[in-house]
Amino acid sequence: MAAPSHTTIWTWLLALLAAGVAAAAAPFGRALAIGLVLVIALIKAVLVVRHYMHLKREPLIIYAIAAAPLLLVLVLAMALVPDLVWRR
């Protein structure tokens, strides 16, 4: 299957932007709306990284370099939860 063109990805990105803004304004509960908006943001980021940054064509070492800081940020956030969230 041929890779989607840059224009196709751009069209998807704009559609997802519209969907995100609409979801934030929709009469859902706030938690659901925020969850939806963040999932849409994640899909947009994956589209840019995979297709515009060509991650899908890169070897494993580039995936490792890209993933390592994400794991470290997750660990950092978890380590901060007791100080920032539970201390109320």
Binding site: K44, V48, M53, A68
Partner: protein, 193 residues
């Protein structure tokens, strides 16, 4: 220097320049990821700061999102044109990316001016401190990207060799797309949550 290039090429199978920019982006991910993580946790613990965030200009930020997404599109087209050795198309897409980046900063400046006129400064509360800190750091990265793009556009216009143009467009493009990805998360976390 050639020795270093050879080592990076031989051990990983990836050109050293590309490896270097991905390492740089990894460190940038730690910078923005750490700040965003602290912002999200502090905001959650404080109950959301919804009263403060309602004063933001969501439509200006949505326009800026559209502009940055489009600039990633033109940057990707510049890279594709460079791989085809089409100098005019490469240059045009680089200039379009620069124009869109300048437009982003112009709208951001208008947004800041409007908020400051309304009395919302970085000292107006924790939300505003985070807002100016996060978006200001991002804007500084956009400015840095614009300078790199301008240097690249001049080199391309002056007929720099394709070998160099291809690699520089790819590296600068990776940085520019990363700045776009950061905004993709900043927009919902700051403006829509």
């Amino acid at each position: 220097m050639n020795g270093l290039n050879a080592i990076a090429g031989e051990t990983s199978g990836v050109p050293s320049g590309k490896l270097g920019i991905w390492w740089f982006l990894a460190s940038e991910t730690m910078t923005f990821g750490g700040l965003l993580g602290v912002f999200v946790l502090t905001r959650y613990a404080a109950g959301g700061w919804h009263d403060a965030s309602e004063h933001l200009h969501v439509w200006m930020a949505a326009c800026n999102t559209l502009i940055l997404l489009t600039s990633s599109f033109t940057m990707a087209r510049a890279h594709a044109a460079a791989l085809r050795h089409e100098r005019r198309a490469t240059l045009h897409n680089l200039l379009a990316t620069i124009g869109l980046g300048l437009l982003f900063l112009g709208i951001k400046a208008l947004e800041y001016a409007s908020e400051l006129r309304a009395g919302f400064t970085p000292h107006s509360g924790p939300f505003w401190g985070f807002y100016y800190g996060l978006t200001g750091l991002h804007a500084a990265h956009v400015l840095g990207g614009l300078i790199a793009l301008a240097v690249l556009a001049v080199a391309t216009a002056r007929g720099q060799s394709w070998d160099l143009v291809e690699r520089r467009v790819e590296s600068t493009g990776l940085y520019w797309h990363f700045v776009d990805v950061v905004w993709i998360f900043l927009f919902p976390l700051v403006y829509l949550s």
